[in-house]
Symmetry: C2
Subunit: 426 residues, 2 copies
C-alpha cells in the first residue's frame, strides 16, 4: 500500500477500537490503532483481578499480538492529547498524526460527581493498575487488622464499603465477602476474617437498576446470602481516610471502593462539539460528529439516543457501533451513503459471587446458578486470545473447587499506610 | 500455649526463614515470621516474570497461606529496622518484639560496587516489583524503537545489555534473545525485533564461574546459539541512561540490566558484630552470632566457611541451614548442646533458553536438553504450593509449544521515558 492509501486512525484499543480495526481488515486502508496502554483489557473481569482471583495477563492481551496478522494495521503506544478536527489530525504527546478517517473510542473514566478529592480515599476500577491498587488495599487491610490491638480501629480495618450498586459494585462486594469468608478464613491468628463487614451503598432505591423486576430484588437476596450488607437510598456526602459519611451518619471503614459514577474520557472536550452532561459526544444517527462525517465516536464516549433512551455503556453496544463505523468508512470510500446505526439489545448479565447471578436475555429472566453459568459461558467465549480462555477457565475451576485465590500478592509499596497501623501485639 | 512458651522470631520469609518456621512445627514454641512482603518468592524463576513468561502469582505464594495449618506460627507483615541483641528484641517500624530465640534470614540485595547511582539506569532482579520494572523497560524499548525514525537511536533502543555472567545474567540474556526472535517477531511494522542485539557482559574470563570445566564453555556456546553476544573480561566503568562504558569503549543501549553483584541485607549492620566485605555475618560453626547462642543467621546473610570455601548463596544451602538452626533451637530448649553445621553440596544447575542448560550433580556433568529437563523437574518439584506447580507447568508447556509469552503487559506508568522517544513516523 502506498502513502495514497487512506489512513484510518483509531484512538483507543478497548472493545470499540479493537473491533473497528478488525472490521477493517479487508478494507483498502491503512489502520493505525493508538492507545496509551500496550494491552486490550477485558474489563468485565477486572473485578476478578482486584479480588485476587485472576492475574492481569489472564484478562489482558497485548494489542500488537491481537492485530499481529492484520497486515493493514499498525499499533502505536502513545497518548492522544487532542483532536484537531479542522486540520484532520490527532495531537500526540510528541508529535501529530494526520487521518483521512478517525474513529474515537477512548471510553469513560471514574466520576466522583465533582468531588475529585475522594479519588485518593475511594479508588475506582477501570484499569489494571486500579485493580492491583484495590487488591493491595484489601489484602493490606486484613494485615493491618491482624496487628491492631484496639477493637474499634480493628473493626474499621475489617469494614469494606463499596459505593455504587451497579454490576461492578455488586460483583466487587460479592467477591470481597467471599474472600473474607473462605479464602482468608484460616490465615490469621488475632482476627477472624469471616467477621469482616462488607457494605454496599446505593443512592437509588434499587441495586442493579438496569435490570427489570424481579431481577434486582433477586440479586439483592443473593448478595445478602453471601453476607453483604446492602443499603439502598444512601447518598454519600463525604469520604475520607477513615470512612464514609451519609448525611449525618458515618461508617468507619478503612477501605472504600468506588463503583458509582462514570464520566466520558476528557479527550471529547478537545473536539469543540456539543457534549452531554457526562461529557459524551452527541453523535449523528450514523455515529459521526456533527459537521464531520469523517469522524465517528463509538462506545462509552458516544451519546446515542434510540427510541428515547440512551444506548448503554456496555461492551456489546461498543462492538456493534465499531462494526457499524467501520462499514461506513468502507461505504464512504466507495462513494456510497453512510447508514444510520441501530442498537440491538442482546441482554444483560451480572454475577454475584461464585455460583449466583441474574440475567435478562430477550424475554428470558434467569437467576441463581443458571444465570451464573450463562455469564461464565458468554464471558469466556468473548475473552480475546485462546491462551487467556484456557488459563481463565483453569483458574476458575481451581478457585471453584478449592475456594482459593491464587493471586493474593501485595506488590505495591509495602508500607504506604504505615502511620495508620497500631502497635504490634505481643 | 501460654505466654511462657518460648518465642522464636524469624526475620525474612525466603527459603531460609520459611523452612526454619516449618522445621519448628512440632516444637513447643511460638513462632513469629516477620517479612515486609506478604509473599514468599521462588526467586530462581523470577527472571521468567521479568521476561513475561510467568505471572507474579505463579512464583509467589502468600506466607500466611503456606503457614495456614501450622498452629504454632503467626505471620507479621512488617519491616524490621534493627536488632537489639542486648535487650533481645527486634525493632519494627512501629514498635518492637521480644524473642527468646531469633533466626535472621533477610538475604541479600543488589550491590553496584559503590556506584549506587547506576541503580536507576540498570535495575537488578530481586523482587516482584524489580521483575515487573524490567519487563516494562524491555517491552517499552521495542515500542520506542517502533516509533523512532533515527537509525542510530533506534539501534540503541534495540540493544539490551545484561551485566553479570552468573546464572541470573545468563538466564535473563537467553530469555531476552528468545523474546525478540520468537515472541515479538511478527508484532511490529517499522522494526524487525529479530535484529535486537542482546549483549552479556562478564568481568572475569568465564561466564558461569561457579561451574566446573567444561560446563562454562558449553554454556557460552549454547547462549551464542540463541543469538546472545557474550563478552568476557569486560569491566563496566560507567552506566547512564543511554548506555554502558567499558573503559574507553562504549555501548549505546537504552536497556541495561544488572545481574552482577550482591550485598548482604543492611539489617546485619545493626547487630554490631563482625561482618565480611559483602556485609555478611561471620557465624559460629553452629550458625549463631558470636556471643549470642540464642541468635542464628542463615542463608545469603550468613558467612559460613567450610573446608576453606564459603558456602554459596543458593536456596539449598539456605534450606539446610534453616533446618539446622531450628534443630539447635529445639536442642537448646531440651538442655542439649548445639551441633555444628555441615553443608552438603547437592549440585548446581543453570538454564539457557527454552531447551538448554548446564548441570553438575555430584560427579555427573550434564548440558543441553538433559540439563534443562533436570532443571525443570527440580524447580517445579520445589515450587511451593500445588496450585503454583500446576499453573507453572501449564504456562511452560504453553510457551514451549507456541513460543508465546502470555504476560506481555506494560503496567507501569505509561510514559516515564517519554522525553527519550523520537517523533512519530507518518
Amino acid at each position: 500500500m502506498t502513502e495514497l492509501t487512506p489512513r484510518v486512525v483509531i484512538v483507543g484499543a478497548g472493545f470499540g477500537g479493537l473491533n473497528a480495526a478488525q472490521a477493517l481488515r479487508r478494507a483498502r486502508v491503512r489502520v493505525t490503532v493508538i492507545d496509551r496502554q500496550n494491552h486490550h483489557l477485558f474489563q468485565p473481569l477486572l473485578y476478578q483481578v482486584a479480588t485476587a482471583a485472576l492475574n492481569p495477563s489472564d484478562i489482558a492481551s497485548p494489542v500488537r499480538r491481537i492485530l499481529r496478522h492484520q497486515a493493514n494495521a499498525e499499533v502505536l503506544l502513545a497518548e492522544v492529547s487532542a483532536i484537531d478536527l479542522a486540520r484532520q489530525r490527532v495531537v500526540l504527546d510528541d508529535g501529530a498524526m494526520a487521518y483521512d478517517f478517525l474513529i474515537v473510542a477512548t471510553g469513560a473514566t471514574h466520576s466522583y460527581f465533582g468531588h475529585d478529592d475522594w479519588a485518593q480515599f475511594a479508588p475506582g476500577l477501570k484499569s489494571i493498575p486500579d485493580a492491583l491498587e484495590i487488591r493491595r488495599r484489601v489484602l493490606f487491610a486484613f494485615e493491618a487488622a491482624e496487628r491492631e490491638p484496639d477493637p474499634a480501629r480493628r473493626r474499621s480495618w475489617l469494614t469494606f464499603v463499596v459505593v455504587g450498586g451497579g454490576p461492578t459494585g455488586v460483583e466487587l462486594a460479592g467477591a470481597l465477602s467471599e474472600i473474607a469468608r473462605h479464602a482468608l478464613a484460616k490465615d490469621f491468628r488475632h482476627i477472624d476474617p469471616t467477621q469482616a463487614h462488607v457494605i454496599l451503598l446505593e443512592g437509588t432505591n434499587h441495586i442493579l437498576p438496569a435490570f427489570v423486576a424481579p431481577l434486582p430484588e433477586k440479586g439483592r437476596r443473593q448478595l445478602e446470602r453471601l453476607g453483604v450488607d446492602v443499603r439502598t437510598g444512601q447518598i454519600v456526602t463525604a469520604i475520607d481516610a477513615a470512612g464514609v459519611a451519609i448525611g449525618p451518619d458515618r461508617i468507619e471503614a478503612r477501605t472504600v471502593l468506588w463503583a458509582a459514577g462514570v464520566a466520558a474520557s476528557p479527550l471529547a472536550r478537545t473536539l469543540g462539539v456539543e457534549l452531554d452532561r457526562a461529557g459524551r459526544v452527541r453523535v449523528e444517527p450514523d455515529l459521526t460528529v456533527p459537521g464531520h462525517p469523517e469522524v465517528a465516536v463509538i462506545g462509552d464516549l458516544a451519546h446515542f439516543d434510540q427510541d428515547g433512551a440512551l444506548v448503554p455503556g456496555v461492551a456489546p453496544a461498543a462492538i456493534q457501533e465499531a462494526r457499524h463505523a467501520a462499514r461506513n468508512v468502507v461505504r464512504s470510500l466507495r462513494g456510497q451513503p453512510r447508514l444510520p446505526f441501530r442498537y440491538r439489545d442482546k441482554g444483560s448479565l451480572a454475577t454475584i459471587g461464585r455460583a449466583a447471578g441474574i440475567a435478562q436475555i430477550g424475554r428470558v429472566r434467569l437467576s441463581g446458578l443458571v444465570a451464573w453459568l450463562a455469564w461464565l459461558f458468554i464471558h469466556i467465549l468473548f475473552l480475546i486470545g485462546f491462551r487467556n480462555r484456557v488459563f481463565v477457565l483453569f483458574s476458575w475451576a481451581w478457585s471453584y473447587v478449592t475456594y482459593d485465590r491464587g493471586a493474593r500478592l501485595i506488590t505495591g509499596p509495602p508500607h504506604r499506610d504505615e502511620n495508620a497501623i497500631g502497635k504490634t501485639p505481643g
